[in-house]
Symmetry: C4
Amino acid sequence: MIGRTRWAIPEGYIPETSTGPEPEMESHETICLLNAGDADAHVQVTVYFEDRDPAGPYELSVPAERTRHVQFNDFEDPEIPRGTAFASVIESDRRVVCQHTRLDSRQAENALLSTVAFPGDS
Amino acid sequence: MIGRTRWAIPEGYIPETSTGPEPEMESHETICLLNAGDADAHVQVTVYFEDRDPAGPYELSVPAERTRHVQFNDFEDPEIPRGTAFASVIESDRRVVCQHTRLDSRQAENALLSTVAFPGDS
Amino acid sequence: MIGRTRWAIPEGYIPETSTGPEPEMESHETICLLNAGDADAHVQVTVYFEDRDPAGPYELSVPAERTRHVQFNDFEDPEIPRGTAFASVIESDRRVVCQHTRLDSRQAENALLSTVAFPGDS
Amino acid sequence: MIGRTRWAIPEGYIPETSTGPEPEMESHETICLLNAGDADAHVQVTVYFEDRDPAGPYELSVPAERTRHVQFNDFEDPEIPRGTAFASVIESDRRVVCQHTRLDSRQAENALLSTVAFPGDS
């Protein structure tokens, strides 16, 4: 099955402000996860900062043959602070594929970035 | 020959609206496929969602020594719903190379994202 | 030495129009090449299309311990047509690293995309 | 531990101008480094140009279980020239993960690009 069980995203930043209609145009930082396998995947996300200990792991699941587009904006207990640099490691008990996307709507027109995350060896 | 026979793109989203002259500035989600080999490639695209069974496979071919830039917007039977998160797996009988690009023209100025897709092992 | 001798970029498109002061804000499609080694690299770029035979190879060199940011816009004999989908394969006699970037200034504000190209096996 | 000890980023360019409130909206070119391991990483960045010898290595550290988002704008002795094409190689004594991001605010609305850097073999 295509994928890996560990992924890293060194870039992370939730802009503090947004422009345009919510929720569609709210600034957001997203992990897109694909589980193309036939069993549910249980995923743990650890968030790293520049000046404090890591947060998490945040737990979520990706059902078999489903995708989930998860926003760091929605993480709770603790929330990810806005306007702060962070990074993340994603670990799964099943192979998944992971892509990182940001919508930045701080200014009147939105900007986008995306990259497939860095895969671990297995 | 450069390429792989399986690729994954965890990110997918066709914005519901567009701004600017069509078709050039219509919001679109694209798979760019390159077949640098000397035989035609037959490609199947399966589309995964967050809350329903996968759609497809959508079939297409990439002739030898040609590229094809295929829009998810154009997939039929069934169409890919707009404003909905999805992901995709691309399988080919020949090695191809796959890149994912979005033009988002919901606002007055367009935004772009692109990444080489995640390659399978073969 | 870091790098590979073969790279592929499935996405390619030179917008037909630009906005803003030239040459800085002219729409352009770029291959960024890094030769971190101690010998010059001789590079050949082949360009693939959707509906015609490949063009090239276009030849260029990247001196030892130098980078070159080459624009498809500047390729000659033949020129790369504007407003047309293409893809490319980069082959080098020395290991180099390759990244693809587009500046799209068709609308008043520019948009950017970038990705490391897909590396071959050697 | 996830990561590699060597990375390359062929693209590099610090726009000469910016629009919008500083420092948040100043045009910048960033290396995002993640050290998910339990020992500090010592990192050296070498910067390559089109027409002169490489600069650096610039030295920095990434503490255990921390991320650092480093701006080329802040490199000193020598400074990285604005409006000039460059590339970089990142070497670390511990495995880190590296992503490249640019915020371009030359025009009224910002544009973004990002990609995971190219990993070396170890």
